[in-house]
Symmetry: C2
Subunit: 159 residues, 2 copies
């Protein structure tokens, strides 16, 4: 199975994440934009995600809450820039536990021989914010979320 | 008169802009959020700015067009993340002449002995985008816009 490549150069404010998924681009795009699919793969296993709002359009706001079995919960929100499309899903992202630390995520989906390459560029406004999010488990959450997404895409294509 | 400090470290994806203005914070905030004031200072002299939309709220969209005397015009648009406040105006920004190259701007206004320090962090998603915007005249437009803002703030306080 292909693995998730995560790049975070020292001193940079970017994190770049790339992974190929064995599914057509339209299906991957649906998994990113339909809340009913999103909650099935977003983030690490063991957390349950509730999407409170997911307004997939230019200026549309989104918010979701992730809860762990021990009762802890973490909320996130942002805004879409431009109408989301497979060519680019651009959105701001803020963890409500660290208000004011906003990043800009750009996800591009590229079709490759029936597979889809998903590339995410997360742009932070300072190195400290980026490193804090990495320290908080961004890499772990991303890798496990990508594993779950691959499983979901396989299930959707089998079903 | 205080000058605008612009920092753009080689290889970074950030541009940081700082300047002190001799005006109270609330007035500076109005100059950033009221279209009727914004058009009087934004960008270099000689361009006229028409604000088509400026929806100052979380998820609100904005768009303006700047025209030069020779008839050329350039349009820009973005989305506010969070409700704009003097503590932080966070917004995406895209020049429509280079679609898909989005940056995230954070403006913070800090009161200092009756003056206001304006600090802007522009976060790009790659070094090439940042350097292209610098090459396109970002620094010149910023410095001249800041001069015009200082003049406008003086006029508003005298009037």
């Amino acid at each position: 199975m292909p693995k998730t490549e995560i790049t975070a150069e020292p001193g940079s404010t970017l994190v770049t994440i790339t992974r190929d998924f064995d599914a057509p681009r339209d299906l991957v795009f649906r998994a990113f934009t339909e809340p009913g699919l999103l909650v099935q793969w977003l983030g690490p296993r063991g957390l349950s995600t509730v999407v409170e709002r997911y307004d997939v359009r230019d200026g549309g706001r989104w918010r979701y809450v992730q809860s762990s079995p021990d009762g802890g919960s973490h909320a996130f929100h942002g805004v879409f820039h431009g109408d989301p499309a497979p060519e680019a899903i651009v959105q701001t992202f803020e963890y409500e536990g660290a208000p004011g630390h906003v990043k800009l995520d750009t996800v591009t989906l590229t079709a490759r021989d029936g597979k889809t390459r998903v590339r995410t560029v997360a742009a932070f406004t300072c190195v400290e914010d980026r490193d804090a999010m990495i320290a908080a488990g961004m890499e772990w959450g991303t890798r496990e979320g990508d594993e779950r997404l691959a499983e979901l895409l396989a299930k959707l294509q089998a079903g």
